[in-house]
């Protein structure tokens, strides 16, 4: 096993630059998830680690050795592809044993390793079949198995669950995490699904348009996002944003919206009076106010999800989402008042988008 270091890496296709100087350190044994919207360059970065794309600038190190010019087969990595890339003309057994066969390992060792991996992944009954005869979930596990038999130093995953249905995705998510806890192989996992990122990662790298927005442990990113992009990307339903101007009076502070509504916010010292800011509040941090306190809101839409009630209200001229655990009988058009704890409020600079 080994660490992976990405040093100021860039990638251009002709004159089109798609990765703009990325720095990431993946520790030994760590499970790092690259997450970001479609087209932000996650796959490109992963493929550069694998050696399937050339590197236009910077260095990639696997285990303290620069691998920029080392071909994929000598990097000692394993990769699980989005569409699995199983060899259609080989049996499942041969698919999983292919890498060992290429390394000219004895038949008995290949058999032992493949059977071991097959047992971990419950693939024993299918070893004689061809990939075309398996379901999507089974194929996914074969792709995992192909990586497992290798004892590779680094595992790379490119959206391995995106072709599965929602239920199976949750099951496989847990299985992959359990597998990592057991094997401790350094892993880089690409997804555009923020829930996958939150649940699986030791650390998350949030990417946007070829740049890293923030790196950190899932809950750190969730609790203190560095900017508007990260704040809006992580969490479902996503964070509410309300624009206004910051105003301090004494020990307290408010943000005044265009329609005159005053939102209580923490009196942070870095914000200047009248500075245009964006207030960010997560839906689960909104509570119903009692006794005429709080900020007025009008109920728009009520969406019960079973575990919670998702409530969309009009607050200060914006549509805001709130999540309640208790079953309150809301009706559309109803006037309510919302409140929140000051320490749960995030303030962002309107112009730069950075956290204040």
């Amino acid at each position: 096993m080994a660490s992976v270091k990405i040093r100021n890496v860039e990638k251009s296709y002709g004159s089109l630059k798609v990765i703009h100087g990325v720095d990431i350190d993946v520790e030994d044994h760590e499970f790092v998830v690259l997450v970001g919207p479609s087209g932000c360059g996650k796959s490109t970065l992963l493929r550069m680690i694998a050696g399937l794309e050339t590197i236009s600038g910077g260095d990639i190190l696997i285990g303290d050795k620069v691998v920029n010019d080392i071909p994929p087969r000598d990097r000692d990595i394993a990769m699980v592809f989005q569409n699995y890339a199983l060899y259609p003309h080989m049996s499942i057994f041969d698919n999983m044993g292919f890498s060992l066969k290429l390394r000219k390992r004895p038949r008995s060792e290949i058999e032992e390793k493949v059977l071991e991996a097959a047992d971990i992944l419950n693939l024993r009954p299918y070893l004689g079949r061809s990939p075309g005869q398996l379901s999507g979930g089974q194929r996914q596990r074969v792709a995992m198995g192909r990586a497992l038999v290798r004892d590779a130093r680094v595992f790379l995953f490119d959206e391995p669950l995106s072709n599965l249905d929602a239920k199976l995705r949750v099951v496989m998510r847990t299985e992959i995490k359990a597998l990592h806890q057991r094997l401790q192989t350094t892993s880089v996992y690409v997804t555009h699904d923020q829930i996958e990122a939150m649940t699986m990662a030791d650390r998350i790298v949030v990417m946007n348009a070829g740049r890293v927005e923030q790196i950190g442990a899932p809950l750190d990113l969730y609790d203190s996002p560095a900017n508007l992009f990260v704040a809006g990307f992580l969490g479902s339903p996503s964070m509410n944003f309300i624009k206004g101007r910051f105003r301090r009076d004494g020990g307290r502070a408010h943000v005044f919206c265009d329609d005159g509504t005053a939102l209580p916010v923490p009196a942070v010292s870095d914000a200047a009076n009248d500075q245009p800011v964006v207030v960010g509040i997560r839906p689960e941090h909104l509570c119903l106010a009692k006794d005429g306190a709080g900020v007025a809101a009008t109920v728009d839409v009520v969406e019960p999800t079973g575990a919670n009630i998702e409530l969309f209200v009009e607050l200060a001229g914006e549509r805001v989402c709130a999540v309640f655990g208790e079953r309150h009988p809301f009706r559309p058009g109803e006037k309510i008042a919302l409140t929140w704890k000051l320490e749960k409020v995030h303030l962002f600079d309107s112009n730069s988008g950075d956290r204040i």
Partner: protein, 276 residues
């Protein structure tokens, strides 16, 4: 089910004129090939005949030196097919996998060569072969047939190669395969159906080719089947039609049967190659 039967009956009714047009020459060929010599020219022409003479085939085989011509045809068709494939596979692979300067121009060039009839070039090719000292040599046909087929085989292979996902080769590289290894163990096995189709195409072209064979080959020992059969008709006082027809039956029917049988496996092969 009865509606399905009705449907297929209707389809066959529509197809039948075509079937008749295709089968008529074979029927004439066959009934001429097996009748006695003195029943060849009767008026009005009849389908029936008094005696079934399989012996015509044996006579023809000896008299027209059929065995040697058959060997020549096989030699030229097989070798030109192998040569065309060996050269087309790398070209098609490069076209489907790599970006390089002049790729578009190369493709257009391949298409343009298909717009020219070989007959237009026959004189030039003959002089070329004279310069190479290869006139009256079967290898001159191997070269020219391979060259004429390559534009088509490259085009055909390339379009099939493009349907084989790149991921598979990339997965093989990561598994530890060299480029050559992944080509041999992963890519080519998946490309077998396309290679078989192009091989059949190229083989049949070589098998049926006439003009170039007539031009390049002088001595009757080196005649290919079409030229040999033609030589039984052209410039003779007396044409032994039953032998000519026996020759054409032997030259066409076995090949047709073999390939229609192979086609079954080809379709199965294509279905196997499917990735999802």
């Amino acid at each position: 089910m009865p509606t399905k039967l009705k449907k297929s009956l209707i389809y066959w009714a529509f197809l039948s004129p075509l079937v008749v047009i295709i089968l008529f020459p074979f029927a004439v060929m066959f009934v001429t090939a097996v009748r006695p010599r003195d029943e060849l020219f009767v008026y009005p022409p009849r389908w029936g005949f008094s005696e079934f003479r399989w012996g015509n085939f044996a006579e023809m085989w000896v008299k027209t030196n059929f065995g040697e011509a058959l060997f020549n045809s096989l030699y030229v068709s097989v070798l030109s097919t192998v040569l065309a494939l060996v050269l087309s596979i790398p070209a098609a692979y490069a076209l489907s996998r790599y970006r390089f300067r002049g790729k578009g121009a190369y493709r257009t060039f391949l298409l343009m060569t298909q717009m020219m009839s070989p007959i237009v070039l026959v004189l030039g090719l003959f002089r070329l072969m004279v310069a190479f000292g290869m006139v009256d040599n079967l290898n001159s046909l191997v070269l020219t047939y391979a060259a004429f087929n390559m534009a088509f085989t490259i085009w055909m292979l390339q379009s099939y190669f493009s349907t084989i996902p790149r991921d598979l080769e990339e997965a093989a590289w990561i598994d530890g395969a060299s480029h050559l290894n992944s080509l041999i163990r992963i890519f080519l096995p998946l490309a077998v159906p396309a290679m078989a189709v192009t091989a059949i195409f190229s083989f049949i072209n070589g098998w049926n080719e006439f003009v170039l064979a007539l031009t390049m080959i002088r001595s009757s020992d080196d005649f290919t089947l079409p030229v040999q059969i033609y030589s039984q008709v052209a410039g003779r006082y007396q044409v032994e039609w039953h032998h000519v027809m026996a020759g054409t039956v032997l030259a066409t029917v076995p090949v047709a049967i073999v390939f229609s049988w192979l086609q079954k496996y080809l379709i199965r092969g294509m279905a196997l190659g499917a990735v999802k």
